[in-house]
């Protein structure tokens, strides 16, 4: 078919930050596909150089206002990897619980506030609130509970203050945890079923492209906090060898670096995790996947949103499990026995020159922080590889595969399908910059 299409979506809506989609089709031939990132660069890695190592989690938490706990966790894990510190069991339980809470709030925000309006044919959540107030109220309720759990554990939402090297400067009370537990159980019984009914009724666009799916994998649990880097195409990579799997590259059309595999782009995030680890989901999450018709492996990127719904159910169940475990063990003020190393106030312990890597699953995929620490305790070098940066090249490959199959559709429909595709990845452009408007030129 000889057809010319020029799509130029300037600032794609309902994504975090600014990005453009540019598609150029001449005489039915696809000439250009670009996902342009137009946010200004942030230079966090340069900011870290010369800072005292305990400051890194607090500085890097500011990379993102949505997954600040994720950055904090990756930062702490990189430092502890470098220094050979093994935090206590209680610290691990609290860190895992707060990470589950953050992933849940981010997913709820994305599938209810940013994705759902597409299916109701409304431009945003505000008209949705007028037509479906029960839906929006439920979404706000779910997000609030997750935010509140971040607040009681991390001391503040979204940017944690109590999470430091080797522990917490402040821990929640058992009464706070019991209250959260009660609310989580109510949410699982009252708010999860209507959420599943809603998303099971939505018709996601049909499109499949098998790619390389990458996520952490752990023998004991559905991996978020810890695991080995698993690729469905290239097998396993240890966290310290992440650069064997992740090659960062500067592209002219984007202020964000693109991170790809050594041979080809790959996907990270909820669908990758689901494809790799779905047998480790908690029971209600498994039932949720069944209800949504999602089975691993699934090659439709539009269903990343469905995988997020499934994961949010898992997040609730895991928080229930982790909090019950904390309560069963009884909370201890561990800072009495072992001083945590807290930010700006820290008296630096003697350190040897060392380096470490933290690899953690955050809402949009696997996140890497890598630091080098000098013998004076100052950071001499840092590298942060953000999930959206890892997905950008894969999104462009999806668009290259998708556009030729939908050329017969009206331009408005092509544009909408492309925007929905980009939104499905839940790109967090300001963090990776570095995202969305569609330019059909």
């Amino acid at each position: 078919m000889s057809k010319d299409i020029n799509i130029n979506v300037h600032h794609v809506a309902r994504v975090e930050g600014h990005g453009n989609i540019v598609i150029d089709v001449q005489s039915g031939e696809l000439k250009k596909v670009e996902l342009q990132i137009v946010e200004s660069p942030r230079f966090f890695e340069a900011m870290l150089r010369g800072r005292r190592f305990p400051e890194a989690p607090q500085i890097t938490s500011r990379i993102c206002g949505i997954c600040a706990v994720g950055h904090t966790t990756a930062s702490l894990r990189a430092l502890e990897d470098a220094l050979g510190i093994e935090p206590s069991e209680q610290t691990l339980l609290l860190r895992k619980a707060v990470l589950e809470a953050e992933i849940m709030q981010s997913h709820v925000l994305h599938y209810y506030f940013l994705v759902a309006p597409d299916f109701f044919s409304v431009p945003s959540v505000i008209p949705l609130a007028a037509s479906h107030p029960d839906v929006v109220k439920r979404a706000l309720r779910m997000k609030k509970l997750a935010d509140d759990i971040v607040t009681i554990i991390a001391g503040r939402h979204p940017h944690p203050i109590s999470m430091v090297v080797d522990g917490f400067t402040h821990i929640p009370t058992e009464a706070q945890l019991r209250d959260a537990l009660k609310q989580l159980k109510t949410m699982l019984s009252d708010d999860v079923p209507p959420t599943l009914d809603l998303f099971a009724s939505l018709k996601f666009p049909a499109f499949e492209r098998k790619t390389d799916y990458v996520a952490l994998k752990h023998p004991d649990e559905y991996a978020y906090y810890d695991g080995i880097i698993h690729s469905t195409e290239t097998g396993e990579t240890r966290h310290r060898d992440y650069k064997n799997k992740v090659k960062e590259e500067v592209v002219l059309h984007s202020t964000a670096k693109q991170a790809k595999g050594p041979f080809r782009p790959y996907m990270v995030g909820a669908l990758s995790r689901f494809n790799i680890n779905s047998d480790q989901l908690m029971p209600a999450a498994k039932a949720a996947a069944q209800k949504l018709g999602l089975a691993a492996p699934n090659y439709n990127p539009y269903l990343i949103s469905a995988a997020q719904v499934v994961e949010s159910v898992h997040n609730i169940e895991r928080m229930i499990y982790l909090i019950e475990e904390l309560l069963r063990r009884g909370l201890k003020d561990e800072t009495v026995e072992r001083q945590t190393i807290a930010g700006w106030s820290a008296k630096l312990p003697p350190v040897k020159k060392c380096w470490g890597v933290g690899a953690v699953e955050v809402p949009r995929g696997v996140l890497f922080h890598e630091y080098r620490i000098d013998d004076d305790g100052l950071l001499s070098w840092a590298n942060c590889v953000i999930p959206t940066g890892q997905n950008l090249a894969n999104i462009e490959d999806d668009m290259r595969a998708l556009v030729p199959t939908i050329l017969d559709r009206p331009q408005e429909e092509i544009t909408l399908l492309l925007e929905m595709l980009v939104r499905a990845y839940d790109p967090c452009i300001s963090c990776s910059v570095h995202m969305l408007k569609v330019d059909f030129v």
Binding site: H11, A13, R14, V15, E16, G17, I66, L109, F113, L114, P123, S124, V125, I126, P127, A129, A130, P133, V136, K137, L140, K143, K144, D147, H157, S430
Partner: protein, 154 residues
Amino acid sequence: MAKTLVLGLGNTLLGDDGIGVLVLDRLGDLGPEVEVVNGATGGLSLFETLKGFPKVVVIDAVEMGKAPGAIARFSAEELLRLPVSRNFSLHEFGLFEVLKLGQSLNEDFGHVIIIGVQPKQVLHLESLSSEIEAKMPEIVEKIKQEVNYAGSYA
């Protein structure tokens, strides 16, 4: 629970945009019935912040096309009547969207009054311009008047 919320909004790293936050430190003790909150650059989270207060006084830098330091007082109803069209994203989810969402959901936000200050410059700067700094006592006075106003808004 306090009866009145004083909510300062803005980014203190962006020059005069920080006025809503910086003025909070000059308010002194407003008594037990008043809660003062630094809303900073909060978006959707403000939805939860606004809940449950019969009266809310918001201070924010507002581009009104007036002389730097000009102060305007308007209600949430007046703000919501303004025609606004812009791309929706969380980075642009601000007070307007929160109030609009509250209106759509019939959320009772009490009476929201906005004290808007015309900025001179909004750029990467950690200080206020002298014109805005000079208006600080007047802005404090306006906030106190609003907090102490006991009459009916009807």
